[in-house]
Protein backbone atom coordinates (compact mmCIF):
# COMPACT_ATOMS: atom_id res chain seq x y z
CA UNK A 1 0.00 0.00 0.00
CA UNK A 2 1.40 3.40 -1.02
CA UNK A 3 0.63 6.19 1.40
CA UNK A 4 0.18 9.87 0.58
CA UNK A 5 0.25 12.91 2.79
CA UNK A 6 -1.23 15.74 0.75
CA UNK A 7 -0.64 18.42 3.36
CA UNK A 8 2.94 18.66 4.56
CA UNK A 9 3.39 22.30 5.51
CA UNK A 10 7.08 22.84 4.87
CA UNK A 11 8.59 26.28 5.54
CA UNK A 12 10.06 27.30 2.19
CA UNK A 13 12.32 29.88 3.84
CA UNK A 14 13.96 27.24 6.05
CA UNK A 15 15.42 24.52 3.83
CA UNK A 16 16.95 22.61 6.74
CA UNK A 17 13.54 22.13 8.34
CA UNK A 18 12.01 21.35 4.94
CA UNK A 19 14.59 18.59 4.48
CA UNK A 20 13.90 17.22 7.96
CA UNK A 21 10.13 17.14 7.33
CA UNK A 22 10.47 15.38 3.99
CA UNK A 23 13.06 12.93 5.38
CA UNK A 24 10.75 12.12 8.29
CA UNK A 25 7.79 11.57 5.94
CA UNK A 26 9.86 9.17 3.90
CA UNK A 27 11.07 7.35 7.04
CA UNK A 28 7.51 6.95 8.29
CA UNK A 29 6.45 5.27 5.05
CA UNK A 30 4.90 7.94 2.83
CA UNK A 31 5.63 7.73 -0.86
CA UNK A 32 3.90 10.94 -1.92
CA UNK A 33 3.84 14.32 -0.18
CA UNK A 34 1.75 17.34 -1.08
CA UNK A 35 3.46 20.62 -0.33
CA UNK A 36 1.34 23.79 -0.25
CA UNK A 37 2.94 26.47 -2.39
CA UNK A 38 1.89 30.09 -2.68
CA UNK A 39 0.62 31.14 -6.14
CA UNK A 40 3.44 32.50 -8.25
CA UNK A 41 6.13 30.32 -6.64
CA UNK A 42 9.30 30.43 -8.74
CA UNK A 43 10.08 27.33 -10.80
CA UNK A 44 13.55 27.09 -9.19
CA UNK A 45 11.93 26.68 -5.73
CA UNK A 46 9.70 23.88 -7.07
CA UNK A 47 12.73 22.24 -8.72
CA UNK A 48 14.74 22.41 -5.50
CA UNK A 49 11.84 20.93 -3.56
CA UNK A 50 11.48 18.16 -6.14
CA UNK A 51 15.20 17.45 -5.81
CA UNK A 52 14.93 17.11 -2.01
CA UNK A 53 11.93 14.79 -2.42
CA UNK A 54 13.78 12.66 -4.97
CA UNK A 55 16.74 12.40 -2.58
CA UNK A 56 14.48 10.78 0.02
CA UNK A 57 12.51 8.69 -2.49
CA UNK A 58 9.25 10.61 -2.20
CA UNK A 59 7.05 12.01 -5.00
CA UNK A 60 6.27 15.71 -4.78
CA UNK A 61 2.72 16.89 -5.34
CA UNK A 62 2.37 20.64 -5.79
CA UNK A 63 -0.61 21.96 -3.89
CA UNK A 64 -2.32 25.32 -4.07
CA UNK A 65 -3.96 26.31 -0.82
CA UNK A 66 -6.57 29.00 -1.41
CA UNK A 67 -7.82 31.16 1.44
CA UNK A 68 -10.27 33.45 -0.38
CA UNK A 69 -12.57 35.88 1.41
CA UNK A 70 -15.36 35.72 -1.16
CA UNK A 71 -16.73 33.47 -3.90
CA UNK A 72 -15.60 35.88 -6.64
CA UNK A 73 -12.05 35.88 -5.27
CA UNK A 74 -12.13 32.07 -5.28
CA UNK A 75 -13.31 31.93 -8.90
CA UNK A 76 -10.62 34.40 -9.96
CA UNK A 77 -7.86 32.41 -8.25
CA UNK A 78 -9.11 29.14 -9.73
CA UNK A 79 -9.18 30.65 -13.22
CA UNK A 80 -5.62 31.94 -12.87
CA UNK A 81 -3.82 29.13 -11.04
CA UNK A 82 -5.73 25.85 -11.43
CA UNK A 83 -3.62 24.44 -14.27
CA UNK A 84 -0.31 25.23 -12.51
CA UNK A 85 -0.87 22.93 -9.53
CA UNK A 86 -1.57 19.24 -9.12
CA UNK A 87 -3.93 19.67 -6.17
CA UNK A 88 -6.11 22.64 -5.22
CA UNK A 89 -7.56 22.99 -1.75
CA UNK A 90 -9.84 25.68 -0.37
CA UNK A 91 -10.01 26.66 3.27
CA UNK A 92 -13.69 27.51 3.66
CA UNK A 93 -14.24 30.24 6.21
CA UNK A 94 -17.76 31.29 5.24
CA UNK A 95 -20.87 29.44 4.12
CA UNK A 96 -21.23 31.01 0.62
CA UNK A 97 -17.56 30.32 0.01
CA UNK A 98 -17.91 26.71 1.18
CA UNK A 99 -20.88 26.17 -1.13
CA UNK A 100 -19.08 27.72 -4.11
CA UNK A 101 -15.97 25.59 -3.45
CA UNK A 102 -18.05 22.42 -3.09
CA UNK A 103 -19.81 22.85 -6.43
CA UNK A 104 -16.72 23.82 -8.44
CA UNK A 105 -15.14 20.86 -10.24
CA UNK A 106 -11.74 22.57 -10.15
CA UNK A 107 -11.54 22.25 -6.37
CA UNK A 108 -10.05 18.98 -5.13
CA UNK A 109 -10.03 19.34 -1.37
CA UNK A 110 -12.35 21.13 1.02
CA UNK A 111 -10.85 22.01 4.38
CA UNK A 112 -12.28 23.84 7.35
CA UNK A 113 -10.72 25.67 10.32
CA UNK A 114 -10.31 23.37 13.32
CA UNK A 115 -10.49 25.73 16.23
CA UNK A 116 -13.70 27.46 15.22
CA UNK A 117 -16.55 24.92 15.24
CA UNK A 118 -18.99 27.55 13.96
CA UNK A 119 -16.89 27.92 10.84
CA UNK A 120 -17.09 24.25 9.90
CA UNK A 121 -19.74 24.23 7.22
CA UNK A 122 -19.56 20.60 6.15
CA UNK A 123 -23.24 19.70 6.48
CA UNK A 124 -25.56 17.63 4.25
CA UNK A 125 -26.01 20.45 1.69
CA UNK A 126 -22.25 20.88 1.38
CA UNK A 127 -21.80 17.10 1.13
CA UNK A 128 -24.40 16.83 -1.64
CA UNK A 129 -22.65 19.52 -3.70
CA UNK A 130 -19.23 17.98 -3.03
CA UNK A 131 -20.40 14.52 -4.07
CA UNK A 132 -21.52 15.90 -7.46
CA UNK A 133 -18.28 17.78 -8.11
CA UNK A 134 -16.09 14.96 -6.71
CA UNK A 135 -14.37 17.27 -4.23
CA UNK A 136 -12.94 15.47 -1.21
CA UNK A 137 -13.31 16.42 2.42
CA UNK A 138 -9.90 16.87 4.03
CA UNK A 139 -9.08 16.30 7.69
CA UNK A 140 -5.75 17.55 9.06
CA UNK A 141 -4.68 15.19 11.82
CA UNK A 142 -2.13 17.62 13.28
CA UNK A 143 -5.16 19.67 14.35
CA UNK A 144 -6.47 16.67 16.30
CA UNK A 145 -3.08 16.40 18.01
CA UNK A 146 -2.61 20.08 18.73
CA UNK A 147 -5.95 21.00 20.29
CA UNK A 148 -6.52 20.02 23.91
CA UNK A 149 -9.22 19.84 26.52
CA UNK A 150 -12.71 21.13 25.77
CA UNK A 151 -11.71 22.37 22.28
CA UNK A 152 -10.70 18.81 21.39
CA UNK A 153 -14.00 17.45 22.70
CA UNK A 154 -15.93 19.87 20.46
CA UNK A 155 -13.62 19.24 17.50
CA UNK A 156 -13.90 15.44 17.75
CA UNK A 157 -17.66 15.66 18.05
CA UNK A 158 -17.82 17.84 14.88
CA UNK A 159 -15.50 15.48 13.03
CA UNK A 160 -17.63 12.47 13.98
CA UNK A 161 -20.73 14.13 12.51
CA UNK A 162 -18.89 15.32 9.40
CA UNK A 163 -17.44 11.88 8.64
CA UNK A 164 -20.90 10.29 8.93
CA UNK A 165 -22.28 12.97 6.56
CA UNK A 166 -19.43 12.42 4.09
CA UNK A 167 -19.94 8.67 4.15
CA UNK A 168 -23.70 8.90 3.63
CA UNK A 169 -23.31 11.20 0.59
CA UNK A 170 -20.35 9.31 -0.86
CA UNK A 171 -17.92 12.20 -0.45
CA UNK A 172 -14.33 10.91 -0.40
CA UNK A 173 -12.44 11.66 2.81
CA UNK A 174 -8.72 12.48 2.67
CA UNK A 175 -6.61 12.30 5.81
CA UNK A 176 -3.53 14.51 5.81
CA UNK A 177 -0.97 15.38 8.43
CA UNK A 178 -1.05 19.19 8.16
CA UNK A 179 2.22 19.04 10.09
CA UNK A 180 4.68 21.91 10.36
CA UNK A 181 7.01 20.01 12.67
CA UNK A 182 8.49 16.48 12.32
CA UNK A 183 7.24 15.64 15.83
CA UNK A 184 3.66 16.06 14.62
CA UNK A 185 4.13 13.43 11.93
CA UNK A 186 2.96 9.89 12.60
CA UNK A 187 3.06 6.62 10.67
CA UNK A 188 -0.02 6.03 8.46
CA UNK A 189 -1.01 3.12 10.74
CA UNK A 190 -0.74 5.41 13.80
CA UNK A 191 -2.90 8.03 12.09
CA UNK A 192 -5.41 5.28 11.29
CA UNK A 193 -5.48 4.36 14.99
CA UNK A 194 -5.97 8.01 15.91
CA UNK A 195 -9.10 8.23 13.75
CA UNK A 196 -10.77 5.86 16.23
CA UNK A 197 -11.30 9.03 18.28
CA UNK A 198 -13.86 10.26 15.77
CA UNK A 199 -15.42 6.96 14.87
CA UNK A 200 -13.52 5.99 11.74
CA UNK A 201 -12.50 2.36 11.35
CA UNK A 202 -8.95 1.40 10.36
CA UNK A 203 -9.63 0.12 6.77
CA UNK A 204 -11.54 3.34 5.93
CA UNK A 205 -8.73 5.46 7.42
CA UNK A 206 -6.03 3.57 5.52
CA UNK A 207 -8.01 4.14 2.32
CA UNK A 208 -8.21 7.85 3.13
CA UNK A 209 -4.42 7.88 3.52
CA UNK A 210 -3.58 5.90 0.39
CA UNK A 211 -6.06 5.14 -2.40
CA UNK A 212 -8.19 8.29 -2.21
CA UNK A 213 -5.41 10.94 -2.18
CA UNK A 214 -3.52 8.99 -4.86
CA UNK A 215 -6.71 9.00 -6.97
CA UNK A 216 -7.06 12.78 -6.61
CA UNK A 217 -3.47 13.31 -7.76
CA UNK A 218 -3.82 10.84 -10.63
CA UNK A 219 -7.01 12.53 -11.87
CA UNK A 220 -5.33 15.95 -11.85
CA UNK A 221 -2.21 14.70 -13.59
CA UNK A 222 -4.48 13.52 -16.41
CA UNK A 223 -6.12 16.98 -16.46
CA UNK A 224 -2.73 18.67 -16.74
CA UNK A 225 -1.97 16.58 -19.79
CA UNK A 226 -1.82 18.65 -23.01
CA UNK A 227 -4.50 16.50 -24.67
CA UNK A 228 -7.10 16.97 -21.93
CA UNK A 229 -10.27 18.84 -22.97
CA UNK A 230 -13.03 17.97 -20.48
CA UNK A 231 -13.96 14.99 -18.28
CA UNK A 232 -14.13 12.03 -20.66
CA UNK A 233 -12.80 13.99 -23.66
CA UNK A 234 -9.15 13.81 -24.60
CA UNK A 235 -7.29 14.63 -27.84
CA UNK A 236 -5.87 11.36 -29.07
CA UNK A 237 -4.39 12.57 -32.35
CA UNK A 238 -4.08 15.95 -34.11
CA UNK A 239 -4.67 16.68 -37.79
CA UNK A 240 -0.98 17.11 -38.62
CA UNK A 241 0.02 13.82 -37.03
CA UNK A 242 -2.76 12.07 -38.98
CA UNK A 243 -1.48 13.38 -42.33
CA UNK A 244 2.12 12.44 -41.61
CA UNK A 245 1.10 8.78 -41.14
Amino acid sequence: MKFSDLHLRVPLNDWEKTRRLIAKSSELGYSQVGVPLPPGTKQEVVDRLRQVCEEFGVDLVTRLELLPRSSSELLGSLRRFRRQFEVVSVLCVSKPLARQAAKDRRVDLLSFPAVEPRKRFFDWAEAELASRSKAAFEIDLAQVLSVEGFSRVIFLSRLRKEVVTAKSYGVPVVLSSGATDPLFLRKPQDYASLTLLFGVDVPFALDALSRIPAGVVERNKLKQDAGYVAPGIRIVRRKGSLESR
Binding site: L28, V144, L145, S146, D181, L183, F184, L185, R186, K187, Q189, D190, Y191, S193, L194, L196, L197, V202
Partner: protein, 116 residues
Protein backbone atom coordinates in the same frame (compact mmCIF):
# COMPACT_ATOMS: atom_id res chain seq x y z
CA UNK B 1 -12.87 -22.12 34.68
CA UNK B 2 -10.01 -19.61 34.36
CA UNK B 3 -10.33 -17.51 31.22
CA UNK B 4 -7.14 -17.06 29.23
CA UNK B 5 -6.29 -13.37 28.85
CA UNK B 6 -5.04 -12.46 25.40
CA UNK B 7 -2.36 -9.80 25.44
CA UNK B 8 -0.50 -7.71 22.93
CA UNK B 9 3.06 -6.42 23.15
CA UNK B 10 3.94 -3.14 21.46
CA UNK B 11 7.44 -2.00 20.55
CA UNK B 12 7.60 1.78 20.76
CA UNK B 13 10.13 4.33 19.59
CA UNK B 14 10.19 7.49 21.65
CA UNK B 15 11.31 10.72 20.00
CA UNK B 16 11.92 13.77 22.11
CA UNK B 17 13.32 17.06 20.85
CA UNK B 18 15.69 17.50 23.78
CA UNK B 19 16.25 13.77 24.45
CA UNK B 20 16.90 12.31 27.90
CA UNK B 21 13.52 10.79 28.68
CA UNK B 22 13.22 8.09 31.32
CA UNK B 23 10.82 5.17 31.72
CA UNK B 24 8.81 6.95 34.39
CA UNK B 25 8.07 9.92 32.12
CA UNK B 26 7.10 7.71 29.17
CA UNK B 27 4.88 5.43 31.23
CA UNK B 28 3.21 8.47 32.85
CA UNK B 29 2.50 10.11 29.53
CA UNK B 30 0.98 6.93 28.01
CA UNK B 31 -1.15 6.29 31.13
CA UNK B 32 -2.35 9.89 31.19
CA UNK B 33 -3.13 9.83 27.49
CA UNK B 34 -5.33 6.71 27.85
CA UNK B 35 -6.95 8.27 30.92
CA UNK B 36 -7.61 11.59 29.17
CA UNK B 37 -9.08 10.01 26.03
CA UNK B 38 -10.94 6.96 27.39
CA UNK B 39 -11.39 7.67 31.09
CA UNK B 40 -10.85 5.48 34.14
CA UNK B 41 -12.85 2.60 32.67
CA UNK B 42 -10.59 2.71 29.60
CA UNK B 43 -7.44 2.55 31.72
CA UNK B 44 -8.85 -0.35 33.71
CA UNK B 45 -9.62 -2.26 30.49
CA UNK B 46 -6.26 -1.48 28.89
CA UNK B 47 -4.19 -3.42 31.44
CA UNK B 48 -1.11 -1.36 30.61
CA UNK B 49 2.26 -2.61 31.80
CA UNK B 50 5.72 -1.32 30.89
CA UNK B 51 7.83 -4.38 30.20
CA UNK B 52 11.08 -2.80 29.12
CA UNK B 53 12.64 0.59 28.39
CA UNK B 54 15.97 1.20 26.70
CA UNK B 55 17.06 4.70 27.73
CA UNK B 56 19.95 4.88 25.26
CA UNK B 57 17.99 3.85 22.18
CA UNK B 58 14.70 5.24 23.52
CA UNK B 59 12.81 2.03 22.74
CA UNK B 60 10.04 0.73 24.97
CA UNK B 61 7.98 -2.43 25.16
CA UNK B 62 4.47 -2.10 26.54
CA UNK B 63 1.94 -4.82 27.24
CA UNK B 64 -1.80 -4.29 26.97
CA UNK B 65 -4.99 -6.26 26.69
CA UNK B 66 -5.80 -7.61 23.20
CA UNK B 67 -9.22 -5.94 23.25
CA UNK B 68 -7.85 -2.56 24.28
CA UNK B 69 -5.18 -2.47 21.54
CA UNK B 70 -6.94 0.09 19.26
CA UNK B 71 -7.51 2.33 22.28
CA UNK B 72 -3.89 2.11 23.42
CA UNK B 73 -2.59 2.75 19.90
CA UNK B 74 -4.79 5.86 19.58
CA UNK B 75 -3.62 7.11 22.97
CA UNK B 76 0.03 6.54 22.05
CA UNK B 77 -0.38 8.34 18.70
CA UNK B 78 -1.93 11.34 20.46
CA UNK B 79 1.12 11.98 22.66
CA UNK B 80 2.76 15.29 21.72
CA UNK B 81 4.72 16.12 24.89
CA UNK B 82 6.80 14.25 27.43
CA UNK B 83 7.74 16.22 30.57
CA UNK B 84 6.48 19.34 28.77
CA UNK B 85 9.02 18.83 25.99
CA UNK B 86 7.78 18.31 22.40
CA UNK B 87 7.81 14.57 21.68
CA UNK B 88 6.27 11.78 19.65
CA UNK B 89 5.86 8.04 20.20
CA UNK B 90 5.72 5.71 17.21
CA UNK B 91 4.45 2.14 17.34
CA UNK B 92 7.07 0.00 15.60
CA UNK B 93 5.49 -3.45 15.87
CA UNK B 94 2.70 -5.25 17.65
CA UNK B 95 2.88 -8.91 18.57
CA UNK B 96 1.20 -11.55 20.70
CA UNK B 97 4.38 -12.55 22.51
CA UNK B 98 7.59 -10.83 23.58
CA UNK B 99 9.67 -13.43 21.78
CA UNK B 100 8.05 -12.79 18.39
CA UNK B 101 8.11 -9.04 18.97
CA UNK B 102 11.88 -9.16 19.57
CA UNK B 103 12.35 -11.26 16.43
CA UNK B 104 10.26 -8.88 14.28
CA UNK B 105 12.01 -5.75 15.58
CA UNK B 106 15.45 -7.34 15.11
CA UNK B 107 14.59 -8.34 11.53
CA UNK B 108 13.46 -4.78 10.80
CA UNK B 109 16.64 -3.37 12.33
CA UNK B 110 18.75 -5.66 10.16
CA UNK B 111 16.84 -4.62 7.02
CA UNK B 112 17.25 -0.93 7.87
CA UNK B 113 20.99 -1.29 8.48
CA UNK B 114 21.33 -3.16 5.17
CA UNK B 115 19.54 -0.34 3.33
CA UNK B 116 21.68 2.36 4.95
Amino acid sequence: MIKYVRRRYLALKVECEEGGVDQRAVSDVVWNSVLRLFGEVGVSQAGLYFVHFDEEEEYAVVRCSHKALPMVKAAIASVTKIDNKPAAIHVLRVSGSIKTLGRKVDAEHREESKES
